[in-house]
Amino acid sequence: MAEGSNLEHLIEREYKAGFVTDVEQESLPPGLSEGVIREISRKKGEPDFMLEWRLQAYRHWLTLREPTWAHVHYPPVDFQAISYFSQPRKDKDRPKSLDEVDPKLLETYEKLGIPLREREMLAGVAVDAVFDSVSIGTTYKAKLAELGIIFCSFSEAVREHPELVRKYLGTVVPQSDNFYAALNSAVFSDGSFVYVPKGVRCPMELSTYFRINAANTGQFERTLIIADEGAQVSYLEGCTAPRRDENQLHAAVVELVALDNAKIKYSTVQNWYPGDEEGRGGIYNFVTKRGVCRGANSHISWTQVETGSAITWKYPSVILQGDNSVGEFYSVALTNNYQQADTGTKMVHIGRNTRSTIISKGISAGHGQNAYRGLVKVLKSAQGARNFTQCDSLLFGNRCGAHTFPYIEVKNRSAQVEHEATTSKISEDQLFYCMQRGLSREDAVSLIVNGFCKAVFKELPMEFAVEAQKLLGVSLEGAVG
């Protein structure tokens, strides 16, 4: 079968971002205890309230059990075998500018195709790159500072702007929210912090590249973005990780706060190591992302392209608290080989005339298992709430799975809630039509898949959209059913 051999050929393709940069790491020994948390806090020079907050989370975490309800299967994670802190050396004399950054790190970014300086000059994107756990270079900071925008690493925010951190941290995702959020709250290493003051429209896309580098290091980012009244910001997050045989745990927490008339757009391209074709290795991506539209007329939009990770467990959600607030969720999730994804969103309508849109596209190939799990909840107070949900799945091959588990709970009669989902494969007719017009089978599939995902890609910022299409192509090329 021609298609079969094509598929094999392409599936055998190695993970392109799979390499390890040889930088000495200063890590804590594996294991988790109050001592480890105190050590993390001390190393980062945090104020007391932060340490107390971490310890509170840790004590709560001890009372929790790992959730098992998701449609994913994996061997139990040994939380004592993970090292909870690692950072590149020379942390005492942090680089003040890119010139001081360890050239090896810069090389890593070069290999990944994200040359910081080039971006700085050409794309006008401010990049806050996280290499393992500590930020190593921040650009355009001065420019943003002029407008009063704070864009820095989380550790820096804790030191420089403790009042803001204290005011907002944990107000969207409390320490006790769930097992992984509690773990993250206890041990988070670093992440990004954004504050856009009243009435300011952030002039550029803010972006962070995450990269897990040291073997055996769970990375626990914490991101907090606050858009004050009338502010607007667009944030990009992209990830790749070197290949490795052992599973790595990644439990991030992202909190977004939008006040009156504010708008936050959060885009993710996730391409972490998915494991090999036998399902060995790969990242466990257990993430809690949530935004709250606290003010009237506020707007939060999540866009994600998930092609990596062995297991994805992720539900970027929006609490629509303010009247007339809007929540959006656009997602493309791809699972190939033995990847598993259980992803979706929660839209909780509290305010009057709140609106939400959910567009989810799942693609499964090989033995991939792809589940959409979502909740649309309309509370009694949400007069005139409106939701539209569409979840489509595309299947390649008869060993993969596509599942849809929506939950719809409506307590207000003036609400309009619609959900629809379809599952199909690429039809021979469509392929025939394209190939008849001179496209190769692969190009035809790529064209159709891109068409399938278009509703989501058009929500991504330009550079990201291009990258996402490429990524999807690489992950799927030739997997014609």
Binding site: W69, H71, V378, N398, C400, G401, Y407, R413, E418, A421
Partner: protein, 433 residues
């Protein structure tokens, strides 16, 4: 919850010597095992995913006792209101037992009360009980206490022209009664029949209430066709739990019309296995909620073989402080290629305090399939109401017309005209106020 378990065990010890089939060791064992399984957990709680939206706490303090024998049944009940067509063969049951005086059995069909079969020739139906030997919760309780029901066996190529009308009345005597009914339908190769299960009655009185638990097992052999109605119009103090298990062979067709219009808590489970190619399964559901009713529909369609199709349409009309739940799950197994499955749930909220919860689920493990599902929650179309009002139709009447139209999508698929008329009248009476 331990009290519920204790009471069930006490009831069981009191009744075990009377329940049909008690002389047959395998039946006695089956009952005892089922009770043991129930005693492990008691009633299901909202912590279980399948019972997430239905809290059985109101049941915990109540003690519904099954009657020990047929003799305890109070037979003086007028059934005229419940008979949909006097020509139809019918079986009338009161509080879990068959009342021969009110029934009219057809000639030439193997149709008998289950109690009779369990007492006289239990081994002929033994294989049908293997599946229920794992169930928990209400299904286990039902197996432990099943007192009677209907046993319909269709020989190959038999075609029943008239529907069989089963009527169960929750009547209750001096105390709140529990009825545990078990029905068996064995449709032989190429046979064709219509079965109407009809549940009515208020229990002893509105305060005491009653509990009706019913389980139906249908086996459809090759090419068999069964149209299966379940009409629940029990009083608002009755707790109604029904579950249906269907096993379909090649080319068979099962059509369910499930109407839940009564009971304080009505829970309906429908589970169909499409085991061989070409099987067709249709599930139409219509549910009405008013007062503080909870109507919980749970369906599971298991596509195990290629070239099968399933259609599900569930529609809910929710008023008062009621809650309507649709929890539908379509599973397509790995080798079930060319499956065509559709699932749709729509809800109308008529009051500010009503709630609709929808959970349409797809689990798909084959690629060459056509599966879709959808769910909506909304209210009556303002434009349509305006149109009718502008033409001089009173507000109440306009609302009733629109609800009738909404329900028509389900009702119009029913082939028994008498049932359609009955439901139209029921909807009109509900909305006429």
């Amino acid at each position: 919850m331990s009290t519920v378990i204790d009471r069930s065990q006490a009831d069981f010890h009191r009744l075990a010597g009377f329940l049909p089939g008690h002389q047959t060791p395998w039946i006695a064992d089956l009952r005892a095992r089922a009770l043991a399984r129930f005693a492990e957990q008691g009633y299901p709680t909202p912590r279980e995913e399948a019972w997430k939206y239905t809290d059985l706490a109101p049941l915990a303090g109540k003690h519904f006792q099954p009657l020990a024998t047929r003799d305890e049944v109070v037979a003086r009940v007028a059934i005229d209101d419940y008979v949909l067509d006097p020509q139809w063969p019918r079986l009338v049951f009161i509080d879990g037992y068959h009342v021969p005086a009110l029934s009219m059995l057809p000639a030439g069909v193997s149709l008998a009360p289950l109690a009779e079969v369990l007492a006289q020739s239990p081994d002929t139906i033994k294989p049908l009980f293997t599946a229920s030997d794992e169930a928990r919760g209400f299904a286990a309780l039902n197996t432990a206490f099943m007192s009677d029901g209907l046993c319909l066996r269709l020989t190959p190529n038999v075609v029943l022209e008239q529907p069989i009308h089963f009527i169960h009345i929750a009547h209750g005597g001096a105390r709140p009664a529990a009825s545990y009914l078990r029905h068996l339908v064995l449709a032989g190769r190429g046979s064709r029949a219509t079965l109407i299960e009809h549940y009515v009655g208020e229990g002893a009185d509105a305060k005491a209430g009653a509990l009706t638990s019913t389980m139906t097992q249908c086996v459809l052999e090759e090419g068999a066709a069964l149209e299966h109605y379940q009409l629940n119009e029990q009083g608002l103090s009755v707790y109604h739990f029904s579950s249906v298990h269907v096993h379909q062979s090649r080319g068979s067709r099962y059509v369910s019309h499930n109407v839940q219009a009564g009971a304080r808590i009505a829970r309906s489970d429908l589970h169909a296995v499409l085991a061989e190619p070409g099987a067709q399964c249709v599930m139409n559901g219509l549910y009405f909620g008013r007062g503080r009713q909870i109507v919980d529909n749970c369906t599971f369609i298991d596509h195990q073989a290629p070239h099968c199709s399933s259609r599900q349409i569930y529609r809910g009309v929710l008023d008062g402080e009621s809650r309507g739940v649709f929890n539908g799950h379509v599973m397509v197994r790995q080798d079930a290629q060319h499956t065509d499955a559709q699932q749709m749930n729509s809800n109308l909220l008529l009051s500010d305090d009503a709630e609709a919860d929808a959970r349409p689920q797809l689990t798909i493990n084959a690629d060459d399939v056509k599966c879709s599902h959808g769910a909506t929650v909304g209210q009556l179309n303002e434009d349509a109401l305006f149109y009718l009002r502008a033409r001089g139709v009173a507000a109440e009447r306009a609302r009733a017309m629109l609800v009738q139209a909404f329900a028509a999508d389900i009702v119009s698929h029913m082939s028994a005209e008498r049932v359609r008329m009955h439901l139209d009248a029921l909807i009109a009476a509900r909305l006429g106020r």
